[in-house]
């Protein structure tokens, strides 16, 4: 789990935020913007729910070019970020194309969302070169990584809580 502060609140029913989260009865325990439980809870139950709601570090290894699967990968990251988790997209192989600027369509929109929400986008520099691309072709915020597999293994084994490969 990431070492981040955890925001814990008990929402009253009659509030716009409670309505947006679909709270039906009070009190509602909300941890990091995630609705965790309703009603009267024991102390141990509250602590367990807080522990479950701590932010996770999600790593997504993207090997696909812009299109359905790349958009899904970025959309997953964007959703995780919206719920307070951390997310990193690591672009390898044809996935480097998904981090290039001047794209149009769902992949570009999701990429912009990921970066705006504080997600990290790392791109394999050797794979960029293999495709005749330079780091200047990347969207602002995406970072070319020279020792890509070295950094990738460090992230997978020491930093990310969960990993997906698409």
């Amino acid at each position: 789990m990431a070492d981040e502060q955890v925001e814990v609140r008990f929402l009253p029913v009659a509030s716009p935020e409670a309505a947006s989260l679909g709270v039906r009865s009070a009190p509602a325990l909300v941890v990091n913007r995630k609705l965790s439980a309703y009603g009267q809870l024991e102390r141990e139950e509250i602590l367990e729910l807080i522990n479950q709601a701590k932010p996770s570090r999600l790593g997504i290894i993207l090997t696909k070019p812009p299109g359905g699967e790349a958009a899904s990968a970025l959309g997953t990251a964007a959703e995780a970020l919206a719920w307070g988790d951390q997310a990193c997209i690591f672009c390898l192989s044809d996935g480097v194309l998904a981090a290039c600027r001047n794209q149009h369509g769902p992949t570009a929109e999701q990429l912009e969302t990921v970066l705006r929400r504080g997600g990290e986008v790392l791109v394999s520099a050797p794979h960029l070169r293999a495709g005749g691309l330079s780091p200047e072709r990347l969207v602002p915020g995406a970072v070319a990584v020279e020792e890509a597999l070295d950094v990738l293994v460090d992230r997978v084994m020491e930093e990310w809580d969960k990993v997906m490969v698409l």
Binding site: T63, S93, L149, V153, V156, M157, W160, V163, V165
Partner: protein
């Protein structure tokens, strides 16, 4: 020691996945992690005894990975369905059931799936 398991579903010379899976496995070994490689579906072609050519290929990377301590297993059903016999597979690589992969899945710190 942390353990990484890599699931490879793709054969060599089709896409970059076999090479990528093996290069990640090698890098993880270089960094001192225990590494397992389970060859599943068309991944059973990667450890074929003839999969070593006079040009860059997954077979050579796989031999290097084994020499550096990566433990490799092949799905027996996937191999049988492709007429890849135990004699067709590199010595030291057992053809096993999916339970072996499940055990690796359960006991590993991380799992990477190169499925194409």
């Amino acid at each position: 020691m942390k353990t990484l398991t890599v699931l490879l579903n793709r054969g060599p010379f089709v896409s970059e996945y076999a090479d990528l899976a093996l290069k990640v496995a090698l890098k993880a070994r270089e960094k001192g992690y225990a590494v397992n490689l389970y060859c599943y579906i068309d991944g059973v072609w990667a450890p074929h005894v003839k999969a070593d050519k006079p040009y860059e290929n997954a077979g050579r990377l796989l031999r290097e990975a084994m020499a550096r301590g990566v433990e490799v297993k092949v799905c027996a059903r996937c191999a049988e369905s492709r007429d890849v016999t135990p004699e067709d597979t590199l010595p030291g690589i057992p053809q096993v059931g999916l339970f072996d992969f499940i055990n690796w899945l359960k006991s590993s710190d991380q799992v990477l799936t190169f499925t194409g």
